[in-house]
């Protein structure tokens, strides 16, 4: 359980990460703001409390890994990795500029701390299965975390992977769905509904929990429970708000990839 002091620290850290991310996107003037904001809490909880990692040795063989399958939320992960010391924070202002080490979607070869290249939606969970199978062969007990988008869950490959992780009993995979109810073109129930999402994962043989994805204590507890699951892979469906923390963007159907001038970004940061 999270004690009060840790909870306060992590709450503050999530605020910092949110601010760094808004700053990076605003400095560029455009970016995947909505889906970056909805994963701030889960990334904070993973990188500052749960993952066994070493920023000085990003490819340590027995590290815990994260596959950010919704690779367009890269900016939030870059903020976390910069803050953890994988690379200088100055890099955040190079986001998406020609020659940058921080591209729009995650790239394992460009950015220290990125475990898997993602961006073509639907492939991340499959890659995580490969990593988990390799670790099982090598007797490595580390966890493979995966974050899948809700819109991404329209992709058939996600469900191919859902079957396989269950068949192979990959209990070291702990996946999250960032269920912010919005996909690029609008609200999911109007574009391509994925309900009943929880039942879908249950019926694929996963250990499924459903939580408020902005509540750090709930995320913490869900990860703890998932870590103790002896047989099944875990899916933590997180109810989230796309654009969370940026009042004019929250739950707006146009917030997937939006313009954000730097002045507005700084004002949004001041309000956090």
């Amino acid at each position: 359980m999270l004690d009060e002091k840790t909870l306060t620290e992590l709450t503050e850290k999530a605020k910092e990460i949110r601010a760094l991310t808004i700053d990076a996107i605003g400095y560029l003037g455009v970016g995947h703001l909505g889906g970056s904001m909805s994963v701030v809490e889960v990334l904070t909880m993973l990188y500052y409390r749960h993952m066994d990692i070493d920023p000085a040795n990003p490819r340590k063989v027995d590290r815990d890994q994260l596959v950010l399958s919704k690779g367009h939320a890269g900016p939030t992960l870059y903020s976390v990795l910069a803050d953890k010391g994988y690379f200088p924070k100055e890099w955040l202002h190079t986001l998406n500029r020609g020659g940058t080490r921080l591209p729009s979607h995650c790239d394992r070869n460009l950015t220290p701390g990125i475990d898997m290249t993602t961006g073509s939606l639907g492939q991340g969970l499959s890659a995580a299965i490969g990593i988990a199978l390799s670790h099982r062969l090598d007797g490595i007990a580390s966890k493979i975390f995966v974050i899948i988008g809700d819109g991404e869950s329209n992709e058939g490959q996600v469900w191919e992977a859902a079957q396989a992780a269950s068949q192979f009993k990959l209990n070291h995979i702990i996946a999250f769905t960032d269920y912010n109810k919005l996909q690029l073109d609008g609200f999911m129930h109007e574009i391509m509904n994925i309900e009943d999402l929880t039942s879908k994962w249950v019926s694929n043989g996963w250990f499924v929990q459903r939580i408020n994805g902005h509540d750090l204590a709930q995320i913490d507890l869900a990860i703890e429970r998932a870590k103790n699951e002896p047989l099944r892979p875990s899916m933590i469906v997180m109810d989230t708000i796309k654009g969370k923390g940026v009042d004019f963007a929250e739950n707006q159907s146009n917030n997937h990839n939006m313009k954000l001038d730097y002045e507005t970004a700084l004002a949004a940061i001041a309000k956090l």
Binding site: R108, Q123, S126, A127, A128, L133, L137, G156, A164
Partner: protein
């Protein structure tokens, strides 16, 4: 010449040997294990064998994950699924991510025979050839299969191997050396060079060279097992020595071997050439012999093209 050998048996035996020497090697299948015949690998290495069911896209991205964690995955399926169905997974998860996935597409082109048009990959090399850095090859006999598999394991990077699954004549000796990206001259001639790839067309090219010899035409025959990267030096040398070229492939003439050779010739040494291959047609069902006739993949067609090219050479 020793008796023909079943290529899939050579493939699986070689994979088993490689697996015994290199514990990074793992095998992935998508419910075609009975077709591949890879049971021997599974029997020896049950924990290193993963059958993902009928889910080729998933198989390729899982392979990428295995590679990112240091394994050396061989992923098997039919050539049609390898190229058409898993293209984005192979492109992004494996190649773009600079990983080390060995994708194997069996039953290329007319060898899909009784599985018919849906399963007939005449375009796989063409699709794959657009992927940066990817190495694409098709062994032409049991010995080159074994040796090129060893070469592909030693090479770090994604490869796509077209695998003829049924019987093939032995064309080489155990002492022959093979290198990815370096074609093999099987027969030396001076009038025309027949550049072929794969079991079916290397065989037909050798037959065509015999027929041409009877007509007083001396043909070089090259086994261009690797179509990417193409052996530029060899193509230029063939153009210089023969001055006429015919490419022979069990594939569309678009973006396969013929295109690769033509690109070198046009840029380096314009030379009369013709392409034997499938001319903008979908596959069909039938026996191998029927389909070879149907799609013009025979020694007779190669001879015809060689004679036409020799006419052009006169006025070149």
């Amino acid at each position: 010449m020793s008796k023909p050998l079943e290529m899939r048996a050579v493939y699986t035996e070689t994979l088993l040997q490689l697996g015994q020497m290199d514990e990074r090697i793992v095998l992935l299948e998508a419910d075609l294990m009975r077709a591949t015949g890879s049971k021997n690998f599974k029997d020896e290495f049950p924990h290193r064998t993963f059958n993902v069911g009928v889910a080729e896209a998933n198989m390729v991205s899982i392979s990428a994950g295995l590679s990112s964690a240091g394994k050396l995955p061989f992923a098997n399926t039919f050539a049609c699924f390898a190229a058409r169905r898993t293209f984005d997974q192979f492109f992004i998860s494996a190649n773009y991510a600079r990983l080390n996935v060995k994708l194997v597409g069996s039953d290329p082109g007319v060898t899909a025979a009784l599985n018919g048009g849906t399963h007939m990959a005449f375009e796989d090399m063409g699709i794959m050839r657009t992927i940066p850095k990817l190495v694409i090859f098709e062994p032409s006999d049991p010995i080159s299969l074994k040796k090129l598999m060893h070469a592909c394991v030693e090479y770090y990077g994604c490869t796509y191997m077209r695998l003829h699954r049924s019987f093939a004549d032995v064309l080489y000796d155990e002492t022959d050396d093979f290198e990815l990206g370096k074609g093999k001259v099987l027969r030396q001639g001076k009038d025309v060079a027949l550049i072929a790839t794969g079991v079916v067309m290397v065989g037909e090219a050798l037959k065509a060279a015999e027929i041409l010899a009877e007509k007083g035409i001396s043909a070089t025959v090259v086994d261009m097992h690797t179509i990417k990267p193409i052996d530029r030096d060899l193509v230029i040398q063939l153009a210089e020595t023969c001055g006429a070229i015919v490419t022979c492939e069990n594939h569309q003439i678009v973006n396969g071997l013929g295109s690769a050779v033509a690109e070198v010739l046009v840029e380096e040494i314009p030379t009369p050439m013709a392409r034997v291959g499938v001319k903008d047609l979908f596959g069909e069902v039938g026996t191998l012999d029927y389909l070879k006739e149907r799609f013009g993949l025979t020694a007779a067609v190669i001879v015809e093209h060689a004679e036409q090219v020799l006419e052009k050479k006169k006025s070149h």
